[in-house]
């Protein structure tokens, strides 16, 4: 298990007492929901705590806002993926009925994959989807996208490396 070095608690505490009200207000304005804003504000401080370090005092708010924005994007992504997943399930054959826990596992995996592929160029992303989820061979992908097989390989390596960073083994 990787060792977790927590940020100094008194520094996190001071970051909390000086900026929590502001962060909560900022999130509430953005999300229009106090409960959700309170959760995300809490998660933001948890991230700071487990990140092992606190920002220099003059960058406190910029740092907190950057983390909070990331969390808002994650939450949005999760919702979009969940919606798309539920719609897709409707169109599956009648015998296909994943259980609640299977759905939760699938959603988690899909959300992570989506986040990993998000940063990639559209052709890289499409290459990876065609190979992994549509089962096309590299020649077939090259033909479909009008690129060389060598380029397909290059795209695949890029996408696989991005996925590995978020889905790779536990022995890191």
């Amino acid at each position: 298990m990787p060792a977790v070095e927590l940020a100094p608690p008194h520094e996190v505490h001071s970051l909390y007492s000086h900026h929590h009200g502001w962060l909560f207000g900022w999130l509430r304005k953005r999300l229009g929901c106090s409960d959700n804003a309170a959760d995300l504000a809490h998660d933001t401080y948890m991230r700071v705590l487990v990140s092992g370090r606190t920002p220099p005092p003059d960058q406190s708010r910029a740092h907190l806002m950057q983390i909070a924005k990331g969390l808002v994007v994650d939450q949005h992504r999760r919702r979009v993926i969940e919606q798309a997943y539920l719609e897709t399930l409707v169109h599956q054959p009648p015998g296909f009925a994943p259980s609640v826990e299977e759905r939760a596992l699938v959603l988690e995996a899909l959300t992570r994959i989506d986040a990993a592929l998000d940063a990639l160029a559209p052709k890289v992303r499409e290459t990876f989807l065609l190979s992994q989820f549509d089962g096309l061979t590299y020649s077939a992908i090259a033909g479909q996208l009008g690129i060389a097989v060598a380029t397909v390989r290059k795209h695949m390596l890029k996408a696989a490396t991005a996925c590995f960073a978020v889905l790779g083994g536990d022995t890191h």
């Binding site: 992570r112 989820f133 889905l167």
Partner: protein
């Protein structure tokens, strides 16, 4: 964001990309086998990449394909692709399976299966059987012409057997034997007993010292056994295999049981105060981040997580 992959991981990813092509040449297969068996760290890197592959395919291909393309118009996804897709995937999987079976040096490399606290692994055995090892597991592989046998010393295995009518597949513990009848099942050793659970097919459980007391378990059943005693069949818990995907899934568990389960997945001491032991917990939690799980439990339950040191943590009343 995590750092760039290590050299071995990067090489394993390159091999994975080659094997995913659907057009692997025998020369490439040979070269891959040589690389994989050259060093133990190559094998470990390969297993990490396999784990990514499993998580990648948690959803059926058609579902993942359409969900991940949600932003793209439906006219850009020809339906023909789905039909072709199924065939392509089968072909690719077949290639990988045969590759594993044709690799004799494996046996020696796999003679000892081990995971440390908080570590989980997936391995393929020479016959194509897939085994997931939970945290803190130790097992030996004994394969011969008559029998495929795993000796489980500690921890937990989830086995998906490859079909082989000529050689039975057996998991052996000090408490007794679990014989697979074409199946997916798990065996776990605790301090007090061994537990066999069946998710597909069936197994026969024979407690040590009671060769006549054979208990047959079908899919959806489990039994707990010690040398000289077997208790079951009871209903199996399908959620109990979520660790294979790095998750702990609980429904209406006692907090003390959740804490005990989390402590399997981390080093050091993790204790639960009896005052809060009976609080009821449900949820899906990542096993890679047990500190994060404790923090999130503390948010919804009237508990306080006290870190005396990184290795001594107590869950008590707030």
């Amino acid at each position: 964001m995590k750092a760039a992959p290590s050299a071995a991981d990067a090489a394993a990813l390159e091999w994975q990309v080659t094997l995913w092509s659907g057009e692997v040449t025998p020369q490439e297969q040979d070269a891959f086998e040589r690389w994989r068996t050259a060093k133990p760290e190559h094998e470990r890197a390969w297993q990490r990449v396999q784990q990514m592959g499993q998580r990648l395919h948690a959803a059926p291909g058609g579902v993942a394909s359409s969900v991940l393309r949600r932003g793209v118009g439906p006219d850009r996804v020809p339906t023909r692709r789905k039909v072709l897709g199924g065939l392509g995937l089968l072909a690719a999987t077949g290639g990988l399976a045969s590759l594993t079976m044709d690799t004799p040096p494996w046996r020696t490399a796999l003679a000892d299966l081990r995971t440390g606290p908080g570590e989980r692994r997936h391995v393929s055995l020479p016959d194509g059987t897939r085994v997931a090892l939970n945290s803190g597991t130790a097992a030996d592989v004994h394969f011969d012409a008559r029998e495929r046998r795993l000796r489980l010393h500690a921890g937990e295995l989830l086995v998906t057997t490859a079909h082989d009518t000529s050689r039975p597949f057996v998991v052996e513990t000090r408490e007794g034997r679990v014989r697979a009848l074409g199946t997916r099942f798990s065996v776990r050793r605790t301090a007090e007993a061994a537990i066999a659970q069946v998710f597909e097919g069936a197994v026969e459980v024979t407690p040590d010292g009671l060769p006549a007391a054979v208990l047959r378990l079908s899919a959806g059943q489990q039994a707990r056994f010690t040398a000289g005693h077997v208790d079951g069949p009871h209903a199996a818990d399908p959620l109990s295999t979520a660790w294979e995907r790095g998750l702990l899934v609980v429904q209406r568990w006692r907090l003390a049981d959740v804490v005990a389960e989390l402590s399997r997945h981390r080093g050091g001491v993790l204790r639960c105060d009896p005052a809060v032991a009976d609080l009821v917990v449900s949820g899906v939690y990542p096993l890679d981040d047990t500190d994060g799980v404790l923090a999130s439990l503390a948010r919804v339950l009237p508990i306080h997580v006290q870190h005396t040191s990184r290795y001594w943590v107590t869950v008590g009343a707030r």
